[in-house]
Symmetry: C2
Subunit: 296 residues, 2 copies
C-alpha cells in the first residue's frame, strides 16, 4: 500500500469498542476493502458480522493473516504476549502491525520477544486516548476517535513508511496524531490516567473499609462532586488490572510522589497554616484552569 491507497485487507484482533470503531471510521473514509475479525466471543463476532463492521470472521490466524495489509491488535492488553506469539508465524514481510494498548513498553517487549526482525520494521505501537465505560462491538462509534489524541511510539527498528501509513489511517479516523518514546508515553499516562484511576478505586475502598462510619450513611450524602470524582472507579476491573500490572513501575513512582504531595498538605493542615493551604489550592486551580483553556 502507499499513503493514499486503501487497505485491501485489514485484520482486527478484538472487535470491541476500539477495534469496531476503527473499522467503522476507516470504512466511512473509504480506506478499507475487506475486514477480517478475530475474537474469542462468538456472539460478539456474529454481531460484528451482522452489523457490517467486519466482512468475515477468521477461521484461523493463518488464513486471517494471509495477504493482510495491516493487523490491528485491539484485544485487552493482558492478552498481548499470547496474541503476538499466535500471529508471529503467519505474518508476511510487508504486513504492518499496530495496536491500541494503553501501555506501550510492555507491548514493545512482547513484540521483541515474538516478532522476527523483518516484521519488527513494520511494527508501529499506538494508543488512542479515547474510550468509554461500555465495551463490545455494540459500543463502537464511527466518531469515537474524532478530535481525540492518538500517540504512536515507534521502536528504533520501525521504518518511517509504516509510521506514516498508520498516521494517515488514524488521521482519516479524525484523530490528532503525536509521536513520542514508549517510556515517555507510559510516564505521561501513569500520571494523567493510571494514577487518577488508582486514586478513585482507592477512595471507594477507603469509604467501605472505614469502620468509624456506616458506609451507607456516608454515601447517602455524597453529592455531584463525589459522583464526578469517582466516575472512573466504575471502569473495568480486568482492563485496569492489566494496565496497572503492565505499567507498574511508572505507576508506583507516581503513587509515591503523589503520597508525598498529600503529606505536604497534611503537614500544612497539622500546623494550621491557612495561608499555605489557600496558596496550594490556588495553584491547583490555576493549573487546571490553564489546562482547560489550552485544551485542543
Amino acid at each position: 500500500m502507499t499513503n493514499t491507497a486503501t487497505l485491501n485487507k485489514l485484520v482486527i484482533i478484538g472487535v470491541g469498542l476500539i477495534g469496531g470503531s476503527f473499522a467503522l471510521a476507516l470504512r466511512k473514509a473509504g480506506l478499507v476493502k475487506h475486514i477480517v475479525g478475530v475474537g474469542r466471543s462468538k456472539e460478539n463476532m456474529q454481531r460484528a458480522l451482522a452489523q457490517g463492521v467486519i466482512n468475515e470472521i477468521a477461521e484461523n490466524m493463518a488464513s486471517a493473516l494471509q495477504n493482510a495489509d495491516l493487523v490491528f491488535l485491539a484485544m485487552p492488553v493482558g492478552q498481548t504476549t499470547n496474541i503476538m506469539a499466535q500471529i508471529a508465524p503467519h505474518l508476511q514481510t510487508n504486513t504492518i502491525i499496530t495496536d491500541a494498548g494503553s501501555t506501550k513498553q510492555d507491548v514493545i517487549a512482547a513484540a521483541r520477544s515474538h516478532l522476527n526482525p523483518e516484521n519488527l520494521k513494520n511494527f508501529v505501537p499506538g494508543h488512542p486516548i479515547a474510550g468509554a465505560e461500555q465495551s463490545g462491538v455494540l459500543a463502537a462509534q464511527v466518531d469515537l476517535f474524532r478530535n481525540k489524541h492518538l500517540i504512536l511510539t515507534p521502536v528504533e527498528e520501525t521504518n518511517t513508511d509504516s509510521v506514516q501509513q498508520v498516521t494517515h489511517l488514524w488521521q482519516a479516523c479524525g484523530a490528532v496524531v503525536s509521536t513520542m518514546d514508549a517510556d515517555e508515553h507510559d510516564n505521561v499516562l501513569a500520571a494523567t490516567s493510571h494514577l487518577p484511576h488508582i486514586l478513585a478505586f482507592a477512595l471507594m475502598n477507603h469509604l467501605h473499609t472505614s469502620t468509624e462510619n456506616n458506609p451507607e450513611n456516608l454515601l447517602r450524602f455524597a453529592g455531584s462532586g463525589f459522583r464526578d470524582f469517582t466516575r472512573i472507579a466504575s471502569s473495568s476491573p480486568e482492563m485496569w488490572r492489566d494496565i496497572c500490572m503492565a505499567n507498574h513501575n511508572a505507576l508506583l513512582s507516581q503513587m509515591k510522589a503523589y503520597q508525598n504531595e498529600l503529606k505536604v498538605l497534611r503537614k500544612i493542615l497539622e500546623r494550621g497554616d491557612g495561608e499555605a493551604l489557600e496558596k496550594a489550592f490556588s495553584q491547583a486551580r490555576g493549573i487546571r484552569e490553564d489546562w482547560l483553556r489550552n485544551r485542543d
Copy 2:
C-alpha cells in the same frame, strides 16, 4: 411564627449562591414577606436588590435584626466567629438563627462563645449539600435545593419548635432534610467531600511539581476521565481553605486512613499480585454501582 406561618422578616447574611437561592425558593413558596440582606460587597448587594432577591439592604446589624423572625448565615465559613459576635448583641429572644456552613462543630463552637443561652435555644445549625462552582447572587437559582440533602445538627439546647420550623422552610425549598450530630456530620463530609477535594487539589499540584515530565506535555494528553476527576479542583481556594481549616481533625484522620489504603494498593502492585488488584478494583466498582442504584 408557627409551622405554617410566613416569615414577616428574614435576614440573610451573605446574599450569594446559597443565600440568594434560599431567598428565591422561599419567595416562590410564598413563605416570606420581607427580606433584608447583609453583605460586604456593595455591588453584589445592589444586584440582589435590583433583581428582587432582597427587599432591603441593611444599614446596620441592629436595624437589620430588629423584629427578625429568622437570620440565615450564608457568608463564607471563615467569617462565622466574626458574624456571631456582630449579631449577638442585637438578637431578640424569639429570632431563629440558622446557617449553611459546610462544617458544623466549628459553627457550634462559635455560637456557644457568642450567643446567650436564650438565643442558643433558637439556634439550628444546618448544611445544604448543594452548590456550584459559581458564586455571587447572579448564580442564585430558585431550584438549587430541590431534591438535595439538607442536614441539620441541632445542639442539646436547641428547642424542637425551632428545628421543626427550619425543617419546614427547607422542605418548602424542595430539600430532603436529615438530622444528625455535628461530629457525625463533620466526619461524613470529611470522607465524601473534603477528602475528595484535597485529593483533586493534590493531583494538580503533583503534576505540576513532577520534574520528570514537562507538565504541559503531561496535561496535553489528559482525557475526559481526568477532566471529571479534577473538576472539584476548580473550586474556590478561599472557601476550601476555610472548610479544611474548620474540619482539620476529621479531615486529617480521613487522609491518614486513605493513605493506608493507597499503601495497600502499592504493596499489591509491588508484589505483582494481579488477582488481588482485580479484586480491589471490583470491590471499588461494586460499591460505586450500589451507591448509584440507591441514590435518592
